[in-house]
């Protein structure tokens, strides 16, 4: 939690429309997305969002489909708030916060129908491709939600599909890409006192009253996730939707 002096400083600054790092309330930090950083992964991306660094990798394995969808591949998304990326994170099984991030990224990709799982079937009802998207924080300085979505999107968009031949998986010299179509990005807002900010730093997150992550694809809302111990009023929700649609264009550019 944040100390009272810093909180007052923040709120005074926000009232003037400026954040402690000099940004405007509705301004994202610098974004860089580098793909293909891990040659052992089928797809990978390192995302920097200000000082936040997130590494996402995609591995594709062969396995059994779910019994209720024999003709679909499987997408599985995991996230770790690693103990080496921030002093306050701990080792052990994923925290509720890490699980929430993984599930929100997963829903955005799934609901935006980014991956055509019907094209991931090796043999109907028996063998399909399992796509694992694993998200790791390398340096955590707030807004892992949006960095993780960018990283997952970039890693999937550049991922190769292995070949299944004679019971074995071939991962070398691959040509085919994963059947990925379209792009989803998300914008996360936090409310501190009376102000609503986009792309919060860790310091801003430690002062938040409410949080909203909005996933956008082609100008439509594809995911929503509210957090925090307080609420937003209706007008704030509407405004954040508008702003997330605007931000989505810049975020898509970062994905190239």
């Amino acid at each position: 939690m944040i100390d009272k002096v810093t909180l007052k400083l923040m709120n005074d600054s926000f009232k003037k429309g400026v954040r402690l790092d000099g940004r405007k309330l509705d301004e994202f930090r610098d974004i860089t997305v580098e793909t293909g950083v891990i040659s052992k992964a089928e797809g990978s991306a390192m995302v920097s969002l200000g000082n936040s660094k997130v590494l996402v990798g995609v591995k594709v394995n062969a396995g059994e489909p779910y019994s209720d969808s024999p003709d679909s591949g499987v997408l599985m998304t995991g996230a770790e708030l690693t103990a080496y990326s921030h002093d306050s994170f701990e080792t052990g099984p994923p925290s509720p916060a890490a699980i929430e991030i993984a599930r929100v990224v997963d829903r955005a990709i799934r609901e935006a129908k980014i991956i055509d799982v019907s094209k991931l079937v090796i043999k109907s009802g028996e063998k399909v491709w399992l796509v694992f998207v694993d998200i790791y924080t390398i340096n955590a300085d707030g807004n892992i939600f949006d960095a993780a979505t960018l990283g997952a999107m970039a890693a999937l968009a550049t991922a190769k599909l292995p070949i299944f031949k004679d019971g074995e998986i071939i991962r070398e010299n691959l040509k085919d890409s994963l059947p990925v179509d379209g792009k989803v990005v998300s914008s996360t807002f936090v409310k501190v006192g009376e102000s609503v900010l986009v792309d919060p730093t860790m310091q801003e997150e430690s002062a938040l009253d409410a949080r909203l992550t909005i996933g956008i694809k082609d100008g439509n809302i594809v995911s929503l996730q509210k957090g925090g111990n307080h609420g937003f009023n209706d007008q704030e929700v509407e405004d954040m939707i508008d702003r997330s649609i605007v931000h989505s264009k810049k975020l898509l550019k970062a994905l190239k």
Binding site: P96, R103, K226, E238, D242
Partner: protein, 243 residues
């Protein structure tokens, strides 16, 4: 494996006969778990959820203690036989996420500063699932807190809304989705408010909607929330009159 139906709404009538803004029968009962400090069962049609509140009570382990207020913890889980395919006992990733958003929504109304260093435990258990279980559970939890006599700024009240396709394939917004609409529909939005604070305290979405559709669905849900809130109040009054 069930087959996806051709439409979820036709001539303005949903698969269970409801109109777009209509909600299922809502039944709210307090005191269902006598041992608990407060408890409540909420039925939204075939969805049945019970909530129990224990606390304020001493908090273990000590390192979680908050020196200036109570910790509100929530634990959402489903009975193994509340769903079609048996659920393995114990909370999985889905249950952990839902527990988190329920706890956060409740904290917006509980006067936590009245009970420093203590914990208020909220247990939400799905007895039978027919969609909207988290929202039914949140409604039940909010009444159970009041039933336990915990000071609150007001109740939390929610109704899910969604988008379903009609016989022409067009999306239509509806209030209070049930299982087939959740499973086959185009969007499912869990939504809850604190009427007292005029705040949105829970909002989660799966799906694909325009801003216009979102606002249209939300307006429908707001009417259902108003009704549900009255039912919550009635259940609490019935209890005190019964006393």
């Amino acid at each position: 494996m069930e087959v996806k139906p051709k439409f979820l709404i036709k001539n303005g009538k949903r698969l269970d006969g409801r109109k777009v803004g209509e909600w299922r029968e809502i039944k709210i009962t307090t005191g269902v778990i006598p041992n608990a400090d407060g408890s409540c069962q909420v039925d939204f049609g075939k969805t049945k959820v019970i909530a129990a509140v224990y606390g304020p009570r001493e908090l273990h382990p000590k390192h979680m203690v908050l020196s200036d207020r109570a910790l509100v913890r929530a634990r959402y889980d489903m009975l193994s036989f509340s769903v079609e395919d048996r659920k393995r006992p114990g909370p999985g990733r889905r249950e952990i996420e839902i527990s988190k958003v329920i706890a956060e929504a409740l904290r917006s109304v509980v006067m936590v500063e009245k009970f420093p260093r203590s914990v208020i435990d909220v247990f939400v258990t799905v007895i039978q699932a027919d969609a909207s279980t988290r929202i039914a559970g949140l409604n039940a939890a909010s009444v159970a807190l009041a039933d336990a006599g915990i000071p609150m700024k007001g109740l939390v009240t929610g109704v899910a809304f969604g988008k379903i396709y009609d016989e022409t394939g067009k999306g239509v917004m509806v209030a209070d989705v049930f299982k087939p609409e959740d499973q086959w529909g185009e969007a499912d939005i869990a939504y809850a408010k604190s009427i007292a604070n005029d705040e949105v305290v829970l909002l989660q979405m799966d799906g694909d909607v325009t801003k216009k559709e979102f606002l249209e669905g939300k307006a429908m849900a707001d009417k259902a929330i108003e009704y549900t809130y009255q039912e919550q109040v009635k259940a609490l009054k019935a209890k005190y009159e019964g006393d």
